[in-house]
Each structure stands twice: as structure tokens, then as C-alpha cells.
């Protein structure tokens, strides 16, 4: 990083634009800092395939130990030779483990895990870009990837080796290992997270004793994410693993799993960055429902509770998820939630944001949903009718109007009698409303006119006004409009000065209040 001259600073601080420009130049960060003070050069060892099999084990161990040396990739020119030696060695080790049998003797396990731990377990640096927008910005990639990638590859082949014995490995791949592994999911480098995903998946599969622990830790990560930090880069990957776990749940579902669904997965929908992991999250939810359909009602009620009120992008995602849920819903469960669900859908359909309205209307293109609606048309149609009819006249977007026509036509054909009844009552309602509005308008006009005709008499009636006001304490104050006295005052010209006017409010315009 070059020094910034004093002239480029303001108040002694570097201007933000300068800082940003500097940062953008480096798109790679590394979490590995050279721990050794002295530079140790690696001496190349013979190839594994070149030594007789009796010596291979020893050489294998030596190579593993050699790979425990870490290098600084932030500086691209130092230690080039040693880095290359390590890279080639790692490559060789990967191949050795993948192709040969009898490699994994008991003594090899601690060496292997030690090499892996040294290389990959590190504290991830804080993000260079605090307002990292995953959809727009480039992620900060790991600079030491050339080595780390091979280490991950090695770990994977190690786990998948046919001679792999979890009973031996579990002494080394223990809870501490898993915990550190989980922390790495927060890496910004997507390639790393991809490897971690596969690795954790294999570990979960093979180490039955660690399963509960892994689930609990993932729970914790998610809960922290939802309620505390709102930041974690590996949510999508963890959800993918969970998807394959949920898929394998035995029936009947344990209470622990149901709790997980309701306390973690559903609230996770409220996260700001939902778009990054929504597909995986929806998959998990649907898998749960396929396992245990009785969960449908609480799930949908939960989603309705958290329904986005101001973020239209999220609303579109929620609607997509609802459609996926409806695709697998059982008709008996549908009956339980149809009312609150369609109330929400009718609100979505009338939403001025065209994408939300379109997505909601598109439900009617789904055969299975149509068949569900048809069976329950008596409940669904009255809920949907009002808003559909209203937007057919009022919506700004012509595409939406065509879609509304399609939906209305479909509903019309399902049950014409009910449709006609609803049309008639809707029209009657609107007529009544219009009439009321008209009456109100007329009343105000009448009042206006009275006021105008009063203004001339205002002076002579001023003490009458006093009395009238004193007596009108319970009534709405039309009297205060521009000094016009109680409407009756002008009409009774021989009215006595002190005549109280309590009768007036009673005769006053009824509907105005």
C-alpha cells in the first residue's frame, strides 16, 4: 500500500474516495500470516511412486509434515520455489490417497489431521468491505487458495477413501474440529464454502456420534445470524446440508426437529439477505412438510405472521415458497389454512407492485392449486372476489389486467351461480357506498350555502351565537364554520335573543359526524 501524501488528506484523515480506490486494487485477502520468523526453504523429497512400498509410509509422513509449513501469499514474489514444492507435494498426496489402498494405517490419521488443521484452521479476517453486497460486489477471495484448495481436496479424498475408519478418525475429528470447520463457513470465498459444504456433509454422514453436536452448532449459528449479527456468509451452504439431512429424517419426526423448523427455519425468513439463501430455505421447509404434513398449518401461519410489509422483492420470494408448499399440500391440510392464506393472497393480488401481483395471479396457472380451489370454491371465491373485481378496474398495469381476466374467467367457470351472487352483492355494496358519498356531498353543499347566506346576518346574530355556542357543548361544531350561526337562526327571524338553541343540533345534518 503506497503512502498517501498529506495533500490528499482532509483534516488529517484520508478521504473516503482515496481509501476505496486503494482497497479496490486488491481483491484478494488472506487470512494466513506467516507465523515463522525465519524463512525455511523446503527441500524437495522423492516422489512416492518412486520409492519401494516399505518406505512409502515413512515418506508419506514426511511429506505431510512438510506441508505443515505455511506461506505468505499476500506477497506474490517471495518463496516461489518453496510454494511450488508444497503445491506439487499436496497434489501428489491427493492422488496418493485417492488411488492407493492400504494407505490409511492407524498412525497416519494423526499426521493427516494435523496437517489439515494447520493449513485450514485460521481466523478469518474481518471483511474488507463492510457493506459487502453479495449480488453486486466481487467477493474477497482467499489468496492462499492454490494451497488451501489442495488441502480441502485432500481432506475430502481422505474422508471418502474406502479404508477410512470413523472409529479411529473420531479421536481426531472431534467436536473441536467440527466447531472450527463450522467457523470457516463464514469465509467470503465461495469456492471454500463449496468444499466445506461437501466435507461437512460427509462428516455428518460418517460420524454418527457427532451428528447431534453438528445440528446443535448449526442451530446456534443460525440463531446468532437471525437475532444478533445478521451476517454470515455460509447460510446457503449449511441449509443445503440440512436439506439432505431433513430428507433423511425417520418418521415420526422427533420433537427436536419440529422445534428446529418452527424456531429457526421459519424466523430465518425475516433475515434481510433472504435472497441469498431463499431457494435452499424453501427446499428445507418443503421437505419438512413432505415428511410430516401436519406441520403445514403452523408453517403457513408462521409465514403469514412474518409476511413482508414493505419489501416487495421478499414478497415475491414468499409467494414462490407458498406455491411450492401448495404443490405438495394435502387437501385436508389445505382446508385448515385456506382462509388466512387466501386473505393474504387477495391482498397481494391487489398490490401496486406489478411483480407481486403477477406472482400471486400466476397461482391460477397451477393445475393442482386450481383443483384445490375448485373443491373449496365456496370459501375461496368470496375472499378473492372483491379485490379481483376492484383491480380489474383500477390497476395501472395492463398485463395484470389480462391476468385478472384469466383468473376471473377461471373462477366464473368453476361456479357461475356463486360468481353471479357475489357480483350482484358487490355491485349492491358499491351502489350503497356511492349513495352515501353523494348524500354526504350534498349535505356539505347545503351547509356551504347556508353559510354564505348567513354571512350577512353574522353581525346581528353575534350574541345569539354566544348563546348557541354555550348550549351546543355536546355537538360537533358546524357553528364554528366562518361565524355562521346555527342553521335555524336565519330562518326564525323573529327568534328571541335568548332563545336557547339545543333543538338545532338535533335537527342538524345527520350524517356529517
Amino acid at each position: 500500500m503506497s503512502a498517501i501524501s498529506a495533500s490528499e488528506k482532509v483534516d488529517g484523515f484520508t478521504r473516503k474516495s482515496m481509501r476505496k480506490a486503494q482497497k479496490q486494487r486488491k481483491s484478494q485477502g488472506s487470512s494466513q500470516f506467516r507465523t515463522q520468523s525465519a524463512l525455511v526453504e523446503l527441500s524437495p523429497l522423492p516422489q512416492l511412486k518412486d520409492v519401494p512400498s516399505t518406505e512409502q509410509q515413512e515418506l508419506f509422513t514426511q511429506k505431510l509434515q512438510q506441508c505443515c509449513m505455511l506461506f505468505d501469499f499476500m506477497d506474490s514474489v517471495i518463496d516461489l520455489k518453496s510454494k511450488e514444492i508444497k503445491r506439487a507435494t499436496l497434489n501428489e498426496l491427493v492422488e496418493y490417497v485417492s488411488t492407493n489402498r492400504g494407505v490409511l494405517v492407524e498412525t497416519a490419521y494423526p499426521e493427516i489431521t494435523s496437517m489439515i488443521c494447520t493449513n485450514i484452521f485460521r481466523t478469518l479476517p474481518p471483511s474488507d468491505n463492510p457493506d459487502f453486497d453479495p449480488e453486486e460486489d466481487e467477493p474477497t477471495l482467499e489468496a492462499s487458495w492454490p494451497h488451501i484448495q489442495l488441502v480441502y481436496e485432500f481432506l475430502l479424498r481422505f474422508l471418502e477413501n474406502p479404508d477410512f475408519q470413523p472409529s479411529i478418525a473420531k479421536r481426531y475429528i472431534d467436536q473441536k474440529f467440527v466447531l472450527q470447520l463450522l467457523e470457516l463457513f463464514d469465509s467470503e470465498d465461495p469456492r471454500e464454502r463449496d468444499f466445506l459444504k461437501t466435507i461437512l456433509h460427509r462428516i455428518y454422514g460418517k460420524f454418527l456420534g457427532l451428528r447431534a453436536f453438528i445440528r446443535k452448532q448449526i442451530n446456534n449459528i443460525f440463531l446468532r445470524f437471525i437475532y444478533e449479527t445478521d451476517h454470515f456468509n455460509g447460510v446457503a451452504e449449511l441449509l443445503e446440508i440440512l436439506g439432505s439431512i431433513i430428507n433423511g429424517f425417520a418418521l415420526p419426526l422427533k420433537a427436536e426437529h419440529k422445534q428446529f423448523l418452527m424456531k429457526v427455519l421459519i424466523p430465518m425468513h425475516t433475515a434481510k439477505g433472504l435472497a441469498l439463501f431463499h431457494a435452499q430455505l424453501a427446499y428445507c421447509v418443503v421437505q419438512f412438510l413432505e415428511k410430516d404434513p401436519t406441520l403445514t398449518e403452523p408453517v403457513i401461519r408462521g409465514l403469514l405472521k412474518f409476511w413482508p410489509k414493505t419489501c416487495s422483492q421478499k414478497e415475491v420470494m414468499y409467494l414462490g415458497e407458498i406455491e411450492e408448499i401448495l404443490d405438495v399440500i394435502e387437501p385436508t391440510q389445505f382446508k385448515k389454512i385456506e382462509e388466512p392464506l387466501f386473505k393474504q393472497i387477495s391482498r397481494c393480488v391487489a398490490n401496486p407492485h406489478f411483480q407481486v401481483a403477477e406472482r400471486a395471479l400466476y397461482f391460477w396457472n397451477n393445475e393442482y392449486i386450481l383443483s384445490l380451489i375448485e373443491e373449496n370454491i365456496d370459501q375461496v371465491l368470496p375472499i378473492m372476489f372483491g379485490s379481483l373485481y376492484r383491480i380489474s378496474k383500477e390497476h395501472w398495469n395492463p398485463t395484470i389486467i389480462s391476468l385478472v381476466y384469466n383468473v376471473l374467467k377461471t373462477l366464473m367457470e368453476m361456479n357461475s351461480t356463486l360468481f353471479d351472487e357475489l357480483t350482484a352483492s358487490y355491485k349492491a355494496d358499491r351502489q350503497r357506498e356511492k349513495k352515501k358519498e353523494q348524500e354526504r356531498e350534498e349535505l356539505w353543499e347545503k351547509l356551504d350555502q347556508l353559510q354564505i347566506s348567513h354571512s350577512g346576518l353574522a353581525h346581528s346574530n353575534s350574541h345569539m351565537l354566544h348563546n348557541a355556542n354555550a348550549n351546543n357543548n355536546n355537538v360537533n361544531n358546524n357553528n364554528n364554520r366562518g361565524g355562521g350561526g346555527p342553521p335555524d337562526a336565519a330562518q326564525n327571524e323573529d327568534m328571541e335573543v335568548d332563545a336557547p338553541a339545543p333543538a338545532v343540533p338535533a335537527e342538524g345534518p345527520p350524517g356529517v359526524y
Binding site: 474406502p162 470413523p166 472409529s167 467436536q175 473441536k176 466447531l179 459444504k197 461437501t198 456433509h201 455428518y204 454422514g205 460418517k206 454418527l208 456420534g209 457427532l210 451428528r211 447431534a212 453436536f213 443445503e240 446440508i241 436439506g243 439432505s244 439431512i245 433423511g248 429424517f249 425417520a250 422427533k254 431457494a279 435452499q280 427446499y283 415475491v316 414462490g320 406489478f354 411483480q355 403477477e358 406472482r359 400466476y362 391460477w364 386450481l370 383443483s371 375448485e374 370454491i377 365456496d378 395492463p398 398485463t399 389486467i401 389480462s402 391476468l403 381476466y405 384469466n406 376471473l408 374467467k409 377461471t410 366464473m412 367457470e413 368453476m414 361456479n415 357461475s416 353471479d420 357480483t423
Partner: protein, 325 residues
């Protein structure tokens, strides 16, 4: 309108109605045509009328418009041999004509909007040409005597002295029933006066009002409508309306409708449909087949309770959890 005037009006319309009935031979031809044949079949016509019903409902057209449109359509089809591919154009032009005549002051949707919503493939100029043809062939100027005309008059007669009866004998309901009947081609053969009377009597029978029934008999005598004819249509009306009122709904063939969405939504739909997970399922509590025999530390019968993982790994769990077993 007083009773005398009403009766006069009835008579006048009765004499006119003959001009507005579609040609019987033409209707017969349509009924006998097979579906997917060379000409228009009854089913085609019925489907078209259903469509028009949908459109007029959507655009808020009055019953008058719809009934008039159906009348024009039937008369035109009975008169001219129309190819099935032109049927939708004919239907829409009848509707547009009717809309223009019935409610010239109401906000009218232009032909463009009708075509767009109706998902038709022809253009607005096609539509106006067809309208001219229809109007010319039928010598159509402003209105026609339709069953609705009679229905309104009969309704006024039946209300007669007591307008409070409006709640009992609802005109809206009668209009809805008329629309339902018109969707069936067989009713196009009926004389408007007879059809309307049959409809009215059906409803009066349902509400069981003696004196209104008397009124209808009076009207029948006044117009000299034959008993047999009236009875025949009354039966058909009853059958049609019982179908209409039944809770059984017909599954619509929604594949005929075009669902057009904006580009963004289309992209969104595409991407969400391909979410296939690539990690294989991990069965719960199951023995991983690639794992060697290792029963001693592992859980009994696949129990995955938290306590099992506490064995031997003390560091991460507080004591009180361990004791709780």
C-alpha cells in the same frame, strides 16, 4: 307505467318480436352440425357465448348489452354460413356493437382493449369491418326486441300495485337466470315473449306467490300465448336452471387461456423451478453402509438425543446438562 300502458307496450313488442328471432332453419343447421365439422356447431356457439358472458361481466356491461349481443350473434349465425375460425371475430363484434348501442354514454372500452383481454388474434380494423358486415346483414340500427325486453315489462306487471314486492321478485336474479339460459343454444329458438314468461313463472313458482301467478296468467291470455308452447319451454327452463344452480362445478379448461407475465417474473419462475439439490440424502440414525462395524459407542436404535454425544466429550457441555439423564 300504469297497467294499461304496460299492456299496450307488451302488445306492441309482441307484434315486433318476429323480426328478431333467428331463422329456424339456420339454427337447425347449426344444431345438426358435428363438432370439428366444417361449420359452426352448437358447442362452438355455446363456447363463444360463454366467452362473451365472461367479457361482458369483466367490463361491467349491462345485461341488456349481453342479451343483445347474443341475439345478434344467433341471428347472424342463422343467416350466414360462418367458418369456425371467424366465429370469435363475429362474437366480439356483436358484443362491441351491442355495447355501443346500449350504453353510449358509459365508459366504453375500445375495441383494442376487448381484443387484448379477450386474447383474440385479429386486429381492431378487422373488428370494425366485421361489425359493419353484421350490422348490414341484420339491418341493425339501435336495438332489438329480446327476452330481456319482455322480462322487464313482465316484471313491472307482476309488481303491479305493490312495488314493495321488489324484494321478493328480484329483477337481478331473473336477469342472471336469463343469461344462464341464453348460454344454451336451444333457447335461441324460443320466442322472446314465451321464454321470458316461462322464466318469470319459474321464479314465481319458487317464491310461491299466488297473486303474481294470477298476473302471469293474465298476461298470457292477453298475448294469446299457447299453453302447450309455454309448458314446453317452462320445462326446459327448469332443467337448465337446476343445472346452473347445482353446486357441482365444471372444471374449466384453463389451458385455452394465455398467461402472459412480464420478463422479470418469467425469469424468476424459471430459476426457481430448477432447484435440485446435489447432496445425497443422509438417512437419520441409519448405519452408514460404508462405515465399519462400530456398535459399541454408537447409539442404540438410532437414538440421536443430545445426551449421547455427551459421552466422553465433556469440554463443550455444561455439567448440569450431563447430569440430567
Amino acid at each position: 307505467m300504469d297497467a294499461f300502458k304496460l299492456m299496450k307496450e307488451l302488445r306492441a313488442n309482441y307484434e315486433q318480436e318476429g323480426y328478431y328471432i333467428p331463422k329456424e332453419t339456420g339454427l337447425n343447421l347449426i344444431e345438426s352440425t358435428e363438432q370439428n365439422g366444417a361449420g359452426i356447431s352448437a358447442k362452438c356457439r355455446d363456447a363463444q357465448v360463454e366467452d362473451l358472458w365472461g367479457l361482458s361481466s369483466f367490463f361491467g356491461y349491462s345485461t341488456q348489452t349481453f342479451v343483445l349481443a347474443v341475439n345478434l350473434l344467433d341471428r347472424f349465425l342463422a343467416l350466414m354460413r360462418v367458418q369456425p375460425k371467424h366465429l370469435s371475430c363475429v362474437g366480439l363484434s356483436c358484443l362491441h356493437l351491442a355495447a355501443q348501442r346500449s350504453a353510449p354514454d358509459a365508459t366504453l372500452s375500445s375495441g383494442h382493449e376487448l381484443i387484448r383481454i379477450g386474447q383474440r388474434r385479429f386486429t381492431a380494423s378487422d373488428l370494425s369491418r366485421m361489425e359493419k358486415i353484421v350490422a348490414e346483414k341484420l339491418h341493425f340500427t339501435s336495438s332489438a326486441v329480446t327476452p330481456l325486453t319482455f322480462l322487464h315489462l313482465y316484471h313491472q306487471v307482476a309488481l303491479g300495485q305493490s312495488p314493495s314486492r321488489k324484494e321478493v321478485l328480484s329483477l337481478e336474479k331473473l336477469e342472471a337466470q336469463l343469461k344462464a339460459c341464453l348460454r344454451c343454444m336451444s333457447f335461441s329458438k324460443a320466442k322472446p315473449s314465451v321464454l321470458a314468461l316461462a322464466l318469470l313463472r319459474h321464479e314465481i313458482k319458487a317464491i310461491q306467490s299466488e297473486d303474481m301467478w294470477e298476473m302471469t296468467c293474465h298476461v298470457q291470455r292477453h298475448l294469446k300465448i299457447a299453453d302447450a308452447e309455454l309448458q314446453c319451454w317452462a320445462e326446459r327452463v327448469a332443467r337448465c336452471l337446476s343445472d346452473y344452480a347445482s353446486p357441482r362445478c365444471s372444471r374449466p379448461n384453463h389451458k385455452k387461456l394465455l398467461w402472459v407475465v412480464s420478463r422479470r417474473t418469467a425469469q424468476n419462475l424459471q430459476s426457481s423451478s430448477c432447484s435440485v439439490p446435489d447432496l445425497p440424502t443422509i438417512p437419520e440414525g441409519g448405519w452408514d453402509p460404508s462405515q465399519s462395524e462400530d456398535s459399541s459407542e454408537d447409539l442404540s436404535s438410532g437414538e440421536e438425543s443430545l445426551s449421547s454425544s455427551l459421552e466422553g466429550e465433556g469440554a463443550y457441555f455444561p455439567l448440569h446438562l450431563r447430569r440430567r439423564r
